[in-house]
């Protein structure tokens, strides 16, 4: 009796997640229909977002939030990838056990901080620093990109460290025995061996940066304008959705579902790529 119940329950739970995924996609697609029909593919290159006086129609284009999302993520990746690699190498190869342990724990704790805290910290403490160094308003693309980088570094570093730890000692020792320096071992043994895991961690972090809402909403400036300078305020897809969802109606609502659909598809592709790499890695170890 109990076994039967448990079997049904676990089957239900397992299939539920699949139906949720398909269901969300279907809903996004259905609600986006009105905007898809109205704007089509031109939506991607139009840069106005303006509702009519009575909120029933308007002209909506996704160019600015799409570019804002891509640029802020790009800035974050440029900063985060080298730093996260450095942290992972330090923890696995350079640091002594006594140092590596507390640093590892600190990094895992950093990864658990809710994003709104990064947003508040960024706005009240970090934005003035960016303003004094780079000029501009303090809030804008650059500030959002840097804080995003800080948010994804711990995550990326933790996964990369785990991937690097899987390098068999025998491989490293053989390399040392042949007279390789530490740098050469890292470059020619550890990096190639854990390549898939590293790429996986980068792509997962990329997915997180793309969809990050709260911290970016605090820091990007939320202005519907194209960026001419790196410190200019602009907007991103999740930020635009969060700011306008409560007030939008009809066509504007549909245009936002269109944007959500774009983000959903892009994130889905990115995450499945990462999973593919991870799975490939695991079967290789076996």
């Amino acid at each position: 009796m109990g076994g039967q119940f448990f079997r049904h329950f676990s089957f239900f739970s397992a299939t539920l997640s699949f139906f949720l995924l398909v269901g969300i996609f279907a809903i996004l697609f259905t609600y986006a229909q009105e905007a898809l029909a109205e704007f089509g593919i031109d939506f991607l290159s139009a840069d106005t977002w303006e509702a009519d006086e009575d909120d029933e129609g308007g002209v909506f284009g996704g160019y600015i939030p799409i570019i804002g999302t891509l640029l802020s993520t790009f800035i974050a990746m440029v900063i985060a990838v080298p730093l996260a690699m450095g942290i992972a190498i330090f923890l696995t190869e350079v640091a002594s056990e006594n140092l590596a342990k507390p640093v590892s724990i600190a990094i895992e704790l950093l990864a658990a901080i809710p994003s709104i805290i990064y947003g508040m910290w960024g706005l009240f403490y970090f934005a003035p620093i960016v303003q004094s160094i780079f000029g501009g308003n303090g809030v804008g693309l650059l500030t959002a990109g840097i804080v995003l980088a800080i948010m994804i570094i711990p995550f990326m570093a933790a996964i990369t460290r785990d991937a690097m730890n899987t390098t068999p000692n025998i491989l490293k020792e053989s390399a040392y025995a042949m007279g390789a320096t530490k740098f050469e071992v890292i470059k020619d043994v550890i990096m190639p061996y854990s390549k898939a895991g590293i790429i996986g961690s980068i792509i997962l972090a990329l997915g997180r940066a793309l969809g990050e809402t709260m911290a970016v909403a605090f820091l990007i400036g939320s202005v519907m304008s194209t960026v001419k300078h790196i410190t200019d305020p602009t907007t991103s897809i999740p930020v635009l959705l969060a700011n306008n969802f409560a007030e939008a109606q009809d066509l504007e609502m549909s245009a936002m579902y269109y944007l959500a659909l774009i983000l959903f598809v892009v994130s889905f592709i990115i995450i499945s790529m990462a999973k593919f790499y991870f799975l490939g890695r695991k079967s290789a170890v076996k």
């Binding site: 308003n137 909403a217 400036g221 939320s222 202005v223 969060a242 306008n244």
Partner: protein, 333 residues
């Protein structure tokens, strides 16, 4: 067995909770009068034991949810024209008057020291003046040392009734401004924040910024705000007295469901950026409407003190009487 008992208890508790919830009147919409409605409803509950839940989600959301009949009443800072009210089967009347201030963050310039003429406000928000030492600003402030720094204008990221009322004022100065809940700003440096608190936070954080926020946020956060030139050419500090002076010039009539935007009033002592906020009721829900008007009647007769304490201006008595007549004529009193 145990599990079943537990489930039964959970079910019982949740249904009884929902019945309690169903008794309370539900409202949502404009965030501009949010702090006041919160104070009014809790005082009303203390006196009468009747519970009213108001969620300050924004004017647009209020209109949307009352159209779909998701709530018993809605708040909106943007009045609806009678034709639209008929189409969507709604009643409307004003509840209270508030005001919008221009708050700034400039080193060495204290609260009320900066004077902004109508031309200067036009220049700042249209992008004609890009630096604080622009001649159009300095000429009214001979005693102040305005820096040669770029002006950052802080605006709303979400559609907002506050923006609607502020752009209405801008439109009175210069018809080139479009009255809108979310316009495309032409100023050189614009930073947007969500809701009054988001804009206030941006003003506080960004040096040489200026932005429009509701008066109670200026008080709560201690932000410095400018004197603004009114219709008669006088520079007026934002105070409850100057709001009251401005509010006396508002004219409302039940004939058009009190449709009126009261920004930029006459009078030498009037603060120019005042705004009313409105309540929307669904025509067909007579019994619920009576409960809402009973609450509003209580607010009109006993809530003035709470309103002024929070920086709002109660409606003039003549307008209140007009609204009471409106309720009687619609048989919802």
């Amino acid at each position: 067995m145990r599990l079943k008992t537990l489930l039964a208890v959970v079910l019982l508790v949740s249904t009884s909770l929902t019945t309690i919830q169903a008794d309370a009147l539900k409202g949502r919409g404009a965030s501009f009068p949010g702090p006041l409605y919160k104070a009014w409803t809790s005082e009303y509950y203390a006196e009468t034991g009747k519970k009213i839940n108001y969620t300050p989600t924004g004017s647009g959301d209020g209109v949307k949810s009352i159209k779909k009949r998701m709530v018993d009443f809605a708040g909106s800072d943007k009045p609806l024209k009678s034709k639209k009210l008929q189409k969507t089967k709604l009643y409307m009347f004003p509840s209270v008057i508030g005001s919008i201030v221009l708050a700034y963050n400039i080193d060495g310039i204290k609260d009320g020291e900066l004077k902004l003429s109508r031309a200067a406000i036009d220049a700042i928000f249209s992008g004609k003046a890009t630096h604080w030492d622009d001649q159009i600003i300095t000429k009214d402030n001979p005693g102040l040392k305005l820096p040669h720094e770029p002006i950052t204008t802080c605006v709303r990221a979400d559609k907002s009734g506050t923006t609607f009322n502020f752009t209405y004022f801008l439109n009175q100065i210069n018809p080139a401004f479009k009255v809108s809940k979310k316009p495309n700003w032409k100023a050189a440096k614009v930073v947007a924040g969500k809701s009054n608190s988001g804009v206030s936070a941006n003003i506080r954080q960004i040096k040489n910024a200026i932005g429009y926020i509701e008066y109670s946020f200026k008080i709560k956060l201690g932000l410095p705000a400018a004197q603004i030139e009114n219709k008669e050419g006088k520079f007026i500090n934002p105070t409850v007295e100057s709001f009251q002076d401005g509010a006396t010039y508002a004219t409302w009539t039940a004939d058009n469901d009190f449709y009126a935007v009261i920004g930029d009033p006459k009078g030498a002592t009037s603060y120019p950026i005042v705004a009313a906020t409105f309540i929307l009721l669904p025509i067909e829900k007579v019994e619920k409407n009576k409960e809402v008007t009973a609450f509003m009647e209580w607010a009109f007769s006993k809530g003035d003190k709470i309103a002024s304490g929070l920086g709002y201006v109660p409606l003039p008595d003549s307008t209140k009487d007009e609204i009471r007549k409106y309720w009687e004529s619609k048989k919802i009193k």
